[in-house]
Amino acid sequence: MFHKILIANRGEIALRVQRACRDMGIRTVAVHSTADAEAMHVRLADESVCIGPPSAKESYLNIPSIISAATITGADAIHPGYGFLSENADFAEVVQAHGLTFIGPTAEHIRMMGDKITAKATMARLGVPLVPGSDGVVNDLAEARVVADRIGYPVLIKAAAGGGGRGMKAAANAEALEDAFRTARAEARAGFGNDAVYIEKYLDRPRHIELQVLADAHGNVVHLGERDCSLQRRHQKVLEEAGSPVLDARARDALGETVTSALARIGYRNAGTLEFLYQDGHFSFIEMNTRLQVEHPVTEMVCGIDLVREQIRIAAGQELGYRQSDIRFEGHAIECRINAENPDTFMPTPGRVSAFHAPGGPGVRVDSALYQGYVVPPYYDSLVAKLIVHARTRSAAIARLRRALDEFAVLGIDTTIPLHRRIVDDPDFQAGNYTIHWLERFVSAEPRR
């Protein structure tokens, strides 16, 4: 088992990793920018190394700085968290080249799934259902017409180098295709320096449902159920649930079986999440994230498994020690991502937290690096807390969530707690009746007072 792990991240996820390491008796090194010198995980870590000025490029994305910090502290493994370098295959290779263990999948699989076209081709080969679309890059309008006629309108033209919801143009019918195609390519060239595009069927009311997997280095692969992450604003998830209000055990098991055998065939290792669009009873693979996800706690609450601990155990060469039939799904969990933003305008509000009281009680978990007196820096993303509730049923979880949101006090900065409070009272949300477009419509409607 590792003696010392370097945490190459910040904020709530760095604290999450710090806690997992501490639970396992593993020493920790917190690397941080000058702006994060007072972060809670830095205070709690066994050692800390300042690796650069506030800018992410010069600190959390600075590979030489992070490797140096690992070398001078004698760390034997690096946990990359999510974002930053967690899906940077070059970083994973550099870590390994220095005799350290990268806690995550292999560089090869990171690379494979990082290119959206390769990822889809791989999944197609392995029998995972895809969104119907082109076979790779579409080179010209004539080719685009052929593809669109085959899969049927409406279609979506997507940048191969895009991601995170950027670089997509819809064409409702054959007349609109030429314009959409040309614009998509121009925007791709301007936005990503690469005008390669592919085409997918446009799904007008899908849900975003993703499946969590864990695989060890001995060929054992399990899935830990699905998360419904349809509530998104500008392609950023806002609230997630485990399990999805619309899936039953049979659908989950069927999808899980397909996915785990596919990943076993490519020898995938460590944690990963496959994201799907789900519409009319059909799943369509869109992409795979070869890292831990922000919303992993809802899966942890329902399965009773510590995902960060499992990542560390797997990276240290241990077997999972359990099979798919040992995985139990108990109850329902919901997570609210709480950002340091105005809940109506979404303007970021960095600044000093003058008062902080987190909710508690049975089935309530708060993953947050906030504390009274902490100054939220302006240089990084605005996620400052995750409130996760768990209960025996979905309606009990919603009631618990309402209570926990009412109790949660963060003063001195704005947060999106009021937005979550409004979502929880909405009849559509309570009925589980929402798609990936629902939240955008909800926030642009008149705010209820």
Binding site: P53, P64, S68, I72
Partner: protein
């Protein structure tokens, strides 16, 4: 930077040796710990090891330390500091030495490459705050150059 227990008796002992002998800095180290006591303008602790208890108030990272001396040359990178061009050679500079702008003060080694750290302006080296072979973090004060 690293959190190790503070030994007040050892520090007091070193400080009084400083005063008695007129030396400007003393450093002792073993496998796990290092203490350096330096004088200027008054004897005091520089580069203090942090308390181990997590409940203790956090020491800010070196770059945010309000006690970063005026005129300090701070580290632009993470690595290991070396005061001489190679083992056995004379140090680049000594306390009291006048240096020109751009003159090499020390090396910082990271990932097997050695980087020269140069004086930002001309002046006199009044304090050397790191020991040869010691790890340094971004923003850590290395030396003080006064005009």
């Amino acid at each position: 930077m690293s959190r190790i227990p503070v030994d007040p008796d050892a520090i007091r002992q070193l400080a009084s040796i400083l005063a008695e002998t007129g030396l400007s800095e003393i450093e002792i180290a073993d496998k796990d710990n290092r203490i350096r006591v330096a004088r200027a303008p008054a004897p005091g602790i520089v580069h203090v090891p942090q308390a181990a208890a997590p409940a203790a108030p956090a020491m800010p990272g070196a770059a945010q330390d309000a006690g970063v001396p005026k005129g300090a040359v701070t580290s632009p990178m993470v690595g290991v500091a070396y005061l001489a061009p190679e083992p056995g050679a004379a140090n680049y500079v000594a306390v009291g030495q006048a240096v020109a702008a751009g003159q090499t003060l020390l090396l910082i080694e990271a990932m097997k490459t050695f980087n020269q750290i140069k004086a930002p302006s001309a002046g006199t080296v009044t304090r050397i705050l790191v020991a040869s072979g010691s790890p340094v973090e971004y923003g850590e004060p290395l030396m003080v150059i006064e005009p």
